[in-house]
Symmetry: C2
Subunit: 233 residues, 2 copies
């Protein structure tokens, strides 16, 4: 074998010996950060390894497999959502906050957040939040089932609009200077068949600029909350 790194002794900074050992948390946050920057397709066990100064295979000591890694990322994303209602908030305000926090996660992690919608949904962070808000709802007179439905509705909106906002904006290039109008049109058109009638192209352009997803979200969460009410099923 090659000698590997001869200096297992920490290069300069660690007290006792060897570098700070990995653990699930460090692996997951590194994965989230890496995917945020390099895209989901760019996230690879080997590359994540190098990022952490470690061989790819070593990660398997801390996550079962790549699926588990992705599920762990989802956990981290949920951890950014308010963990429970503010102490003085009414239930509507609390749920609005909850949904809003969820919605915002998509803005902060445009590339990674869709995992929330596509991977295993149930994880501790989710359960903790559901329980906290459910508790509040029960105190307000919701029965368990109605409460779960209400929370579900609110989560559905957060996720739905969060995704929609991304999709409307998404294929943005992220280069230094903003793209010209013509460039944008060409980019949008490229995935479409050649014979798309002009009005549809215009529509496509408007979709990425005219729509105010934030406002749509606010409006419809308010409408929803107005339509909900305590009581048994």
């Amino acid at each position: 074998m090659a000698i590997g790194k001869p200096a297992q002794q920490a290069p300069a900074g660690e007290p006792t010996g060897r570098r700070q050992p990995l653990n699930r948390q460090r692996v997951l946050s590194a994965a989230l950060a890496y995917a945020d920057r390099h895209g989901l397709a760019g996230l690879t066990m080997r590359r994540l390894g190098t990022e952490l100064g470690v061989e790819g295979m070593s990660l398997y000591k801390h996550v079962a497999d790549k699926d588990a890694l992705l599920d762990g990322i989802v956990e981290l994303l949920w951890a950014e959502v308010p963990a429970g209602p503010a102490p003085d908030a009414g239930w509507r305000q609390a749920l609005r906050n909850f949904a809003d926090g969820l919605y915002r996660v998509f803005g902060r992690h445009p590339i990674v957040a869709p995992l929330i919608a596509t991977r295993n949904f149930v994880n501790i962070e989710v359960l903790r939040r559901y329980q906290a808000y459910l508790e509040l709802l029960r105190q307000t007179g919701f029965d368990r089932r109605r409460g779960l439905d209400a929370i579900g509705a609110v989560v559905g909106q957060g996720v739905g609009y969060g995704l929609l906002a991304l999709r409307y904006t998404d294929p943005a290039p992220q280069t230094a200077e903003p793209e010209s109008n013509l460039q944008r049109i060409r980019r949008i058109t490229r995935t479409l068949p050649a014979d798309v009638p002009d009005p549809l192209v215009e529509l496509a352009v408007d979709l990425t600029s005219e729509c105010d997803t934030d406002r749509c979200f606010a409006i419809s969460i308010d409408a929803l909350l107005a339509g909900l009410a305590p009581g048994p099923a």
Copy 2:
């Protein structure tokens, strides 16, 4: 080279010669069907090729690359949504129908439909539908921008609840006989840390059985539509 299929002449059914040549449509629907049955991870260019009686590489004559294939599948999914308002329907009814059609796609293609939320959003089928419904809204007094917002809101709900319904149900096993209650608990718990408190486990179980996503969806789409109104921004 190997002789390949010696009988290029159609085996029994085709008139002129060789098998019916592939085309984008056939490739896409085969891909959708295959992924429906074998999962997204199971969908492979080579395997899809064999499914179509063709070598994997041949598919690249009809789709640019795998990404384009997936985007094409999304197109097919959208094609299942009502293309425009029924002639006699009011705008609320039309939008409800639209959202509902979208929502149902997730039920019909539980494995594949999440692609709608994660891949390129803009494609012709989408544009066609947006235009059709936008047209109706404008006739009702919405200005273009408000109309787009309304459609967006409705789509957001369809997608959001569609996904949520899947996630609540999802990790179902699809074996012949239904799993025992204990099996289900174990399955749900497996992805969670070992020390989850019991109430959270109970919550997890309830999430997959107690929640009535259909009803949540109906309620909140109604609430939303009630809250929308024509007029300029």
